[in-house]
């Protein structure tokens, strides 16, 4: 079988199943008696086992098999889904995840799982359910009369039958004077593989290759050929004495299995039951798989979407160029066509951007597990609520926000919420709540992490900030509460008294802030003592195409992102005031510092100073600044381009774009301009 062809699908589906297992196991922990959940987990585990065995990932298959046994025991009321038991199951899921990741990265998916397997076996044996041994005994039954198939082989047989294949058992005996037994066997297998697929052989292929058999062996195959054809083909191999072909009936097969296990303990009875339910399960899974295709969706490689986006970016640049030309030429026909094209490409842009949108669920769904684990480590009782997991964000943003969110959640769990004892003391319910909420608003997506913990201790933060030199003592006292909380984002500040394993390792919230800002978003914090803390992240919907205001600074053109502009204004020169060497203006009642871009960017002066100044008021969080420019050109959608690897840290420039006239304009990074 050509493996690579299916590898991607295998990885995608395995990840989905693992995620489903994680989700359901978490549910199971809260409602241990809900059998429908166990069935869900079981189904995922089973499909995973089948897939990995087909793909030849033995470790993966054996671990899932063991897990399945434990789950089965739970399902049959032999074990209860206690927290300790689930810990081990979770551990197994972690291992599975690691293996799948390894495969995704091109590895073999091998991993030492003996420890977990041993734990699972122990769990299982805790109730004396010795299925493993039973299964092994089953396999040992060496039959020349009829094969005994395990669950997996049975499934394959049933499924291939559904798809119109025949299943035959071939009992082949070689002539007594045969010289090269192994070679003949090899030739037989080669012939068989031409017509179909070999499911099983007795003795095993290894034993056959080592000539570890007498003169007869039997093989089970699935094929579309008729009995006679197969017979004729195999007989072409010389030195074969005779072939007996029997058609396998899967129903009978179960009967055979039942028969052969009659002598076994009662436990085996269970095994048979499992195998038949499993077959059913598999059918169900099969049916489920069909539904999405009825939904008219296709899987598209992300790289293709990326290249589509790149091509579209080129188109946007040309669109800008055409708009410029039509404006210059003033031909009404051209203007009409260009306007039409602009509208259409605007629609196209929406569709392309939408295609790249993925629900934040992708990031959120690993958090319940993480919170559960952390709560155990910290001896806290935490309930995590996730709201708005279906909110969509650009894929590039999704890839990046995982870490900052992990950090904020850890922070809330470690510093935010109190221990159960402390909570009871102050009259709060023992279990604390952490809410993770995502929602759309305008051109932005907001993600909030809130807790109902103790809130931020103003004094503690200030003290720390003063001692680490972030603010001076005098300045500290005049800060508002909100300003104090914002200090948490400055580097080198962790308010945890002791450095714990969870958070506060010196890499603090400043890392979160930097990351979010590099994504073009911002993060803020608010807190009420004893009621809780809320971290709010604002993110742009997309990163590659942004709306800007083009401005002229002397002869140069700069782009200011619309997301940071509050408004534009024209002021008189005499309105400028000075406050300690800093020019400021009074803007709607607040004092806003004035920054002359000509001076700031050392732009060669080409224009005479005017009595009136054009200013752009920009903001960063609550803070504002007024940028002095020479004139406004207008608003435009532009494609964000990087300055390249050579110029990585041009100050206050976040990137560049190509204008309609083919020239490059720089994009001003307003976040860097305001401290």
């Amino acid at each position: 079988m050509e493996k690579n062809q299916y590898l991607e699908m295998f990885i995608d589906e395995s990840t989905e199943h693992l995620q489903a297992m994680n989700d359901h196991l978490l549910k199971l922990e809260t409602t241990p008696d809900d059998f429908s959940i166990i069935n869900e987990v079981f189904r995922s585990a089973h499909t995973l086992k089948g897939m990995s065995a087909t793909m030849g990932y033995e470790d993966l298959a054996s671990l899932t098999h063991q897990m399945e046994n434990v789950l089965d025991a739970i399902r049959n009321d032999k074990l209860t889904a206690s927290s300790e038991l689930l810990d081990v199951v979770f551990e197994a899921v972690d291992d599975l995840e690691a293996m799948v990741n390894d495969i995704a990265e091109g590895g073999e998916g091998k991993r030492d799982v003996q420890l977990v397997v041993a734990k699972l076996v122990k769990l299982e044996k805790g109730e004396g359910v010795d299925e493993v041994a039973a299964t092994k005994e089953l396999e040992k039954i060496d039959g020349n009369e009829a094969h005994v198939y395990d669950d997996f082989e049975l499934t394959v047989l049933t499924q291939s039958k559904e798809q119109g294949f025949y299943a035959y058992q071939l009992d082949i005996s070689l002539r007594e004077d045969v010289i090269l037994k192994a070679a003949r066997v090899f030739m037989v297998f080669e012939v068989l593989e031409q017509v179909g697929e070999v499911i099983k052989s007795t003795p095993t292929v290894d034993q056959l290759e080592e000539e570890n058999f007498d003169l007869t062996f039997s093989v089970t195959i699935v094929t579309k050929e008729t009995e006679q054809d197969v017979h004729a083909r195999v007989m072409k191999v010389s030195e074969i004495d005779q072939i007996n072909i029997t058609t396998i009936n899967t129903d009978e097969q179960k009967y055979v299995q039942e028969n052969s296990s009659n002598n076994e303990e009662k436990n085996t009875e269970k095994d048979k039951e499992t195998s038949s339910t499993e077959v059913n399960n598999d059918k169900q899974v099969h049916e489920e798989k069909v539904t999405p295709s009825a939904n008219k969706t296709i899987r598209v490689n992300i790289e293709r979407l990326d290249s589509l986006m790149n091509l579209f970016e080129e188109l946007v640049i040309d669109r800008g160029r055409l708009e410029q030309i039509s404006k210059d030429l003033k031909s009404s026909e051209l203007t009409e066509t260009v306007e039409h094209m602009s509208r259409i490409s605007g629609d196209l842009q929406n569709i392309i951007l939408n295609m790249r949108m993925v629900p934040v669920e992708q990031v959120f769904n690993r958090f319940p597990r993480m919170v559960r684990g952390l709560a155990k480590d910290l001896n806290k009782k935490v309930n995590l609520d996730i709201i708005g997991a279906e909110t969509e964000l650009d894929r590039t943003v999704i890839d990046e926000i995982g870490d900052p969110l992990v950090h904020l959640l850890r922070n809330s769990m470690d510093h935010g919420v109190e221990t159960p004892e402390n909570r009871l003391k102050i009259g709060k319910p023992e279990e604390s709540n952490i809410t993770l909420k995502a929602y759309h608003s305008g051109n932005h997506v907001f993600i909030e992490v809130s807790d109902d913990g103790a809130g931020i201790n103003r004094e503690k933060v200030l003290q720390k900030a003063v001692s680490s030199g972030v603010v001076s003592e005098e300045n500290g006292t005049s800060l508002t509460d909100k300003q104090v909380y914002e200090l948490l984002f400055s580097s080198g500040l962790s308010t945890a008294d002791e450095i714990s394993d969870v958070s506060g390792r010196g890499v603090g919230l400043d890392v979160v802030k930097n990351k979010i800002e590099s994504l073009g978003g911002n993060v803020s914090v608010n807190s009420t003592p004893n009621e809780g803390t809320i971290f709010s992240i604002q993110l742009p919907l997309t990163l590659s195409i942004i709306s800007v205001m083009l401005v002229e600074v002397q002869a140069e053109i700069y782009a200011v992102p619309l997301s940071s502009i509050i408004e534009t204004a024209i002021i008189k020169k005499e309105d400028i005031m000075a406050a300690h060497n800093q020019k400021v203006i009074d803007f709607r009642g607040s004092v806003v510092p004035l920054l002359n871009l000509t001076d700031f960017f050392d732009v060669p002066t080409t224009k005479e100073e005017d009595e009136y100044l054009s200013i752009v008021i920009v903001r960063k969080g609550e803070k504002m600044a007024a940028l002095v420019v020479n004139s406004f050109i207008g608003q435009q959608e532009i494609v964000l381009k990087s300055l390249g690897k050579y110029l990585t840290n041009a100050f206050a420039i976040s990137g560049a774009t190509i204008l309609g006239n083919g020239q490059v304009a720089l994009i001003i990074d307003c976040n860097a301009l305001i401290k």
Binding site: V603, K641, L643, Y646, L647, A650, V664
Partner: protein, 158 residues
């Protein structure tokens, strides 16, 4: 015959003031005429800015200023040589680019020690060809972004 081919190195020859320099053909992507260059503020003085090179924003440096040769107004013969170093493309402004020649490897000598100092680092060797003298540049050094940062820091201090 084959041996001589193997031992030859193809270089693009360009001019800076009175001297001739060479860069290996493999490192050169294209040679462009000067077009509109957008200045990038707060960068070292030899960084001319960025241009739109067929949709890619490409940084441009002025080699005269890079080697502390007094500047010259761009003229008809001024060219931008786009070179690739590692994963980055950078344009070099030169007075003129006028030749592609093969030079035998054994004609290349190590840079003269006497020159010493900062500049010798940028030179990989000197090729003597009859009456011409060709300075072969070590582009990895000339276009080292780390050095760019350092220069920026030094300038910041001044």
């Amino acid at each position: 015959m084959n041996e001589t081919v193997l031992d030859d190195m193809k270089v693009i020859v360009f001019q800076l003031k009175d001297e001739e320099y060479g860069v290996e053909v493999e490192q050169v992507r294209s040679i462009e005429r000067v077009q509109h260059i957008t200045r990038v503020p707060s960068t070292p003085d030899f960084v001319e800015g960025v241009i739109n090179l067929r949709g890619v924003v490409t940084p441009i440096i002025d080699l005269r200023k890079r080697f502390s040769i007094d500047g010259l107004e761009h003229s008809e013969s001024t060219r931008v040589i786009i070179v690739t170093v590692g994963a980055m493309d950078v344009g070099l402004v030169v007075d003129a680019a006028n030749d592609v020649i093969d030079i035998p490897r054994d004609a290349i000598e190590p840079p003269p020690v006497v020159v010493g100092g900062l500049e010798a680092e940028y030179i990989r060797g000197v090729a003597k060809l009859e009456k011409r003298l060709l300075i072969l540049l070590n582009l990895d050094k000339v276009l080292n972004p780390d050095e760019l940062d350092e220069m920026q820091e030094i300038e910041g201090k001044l």
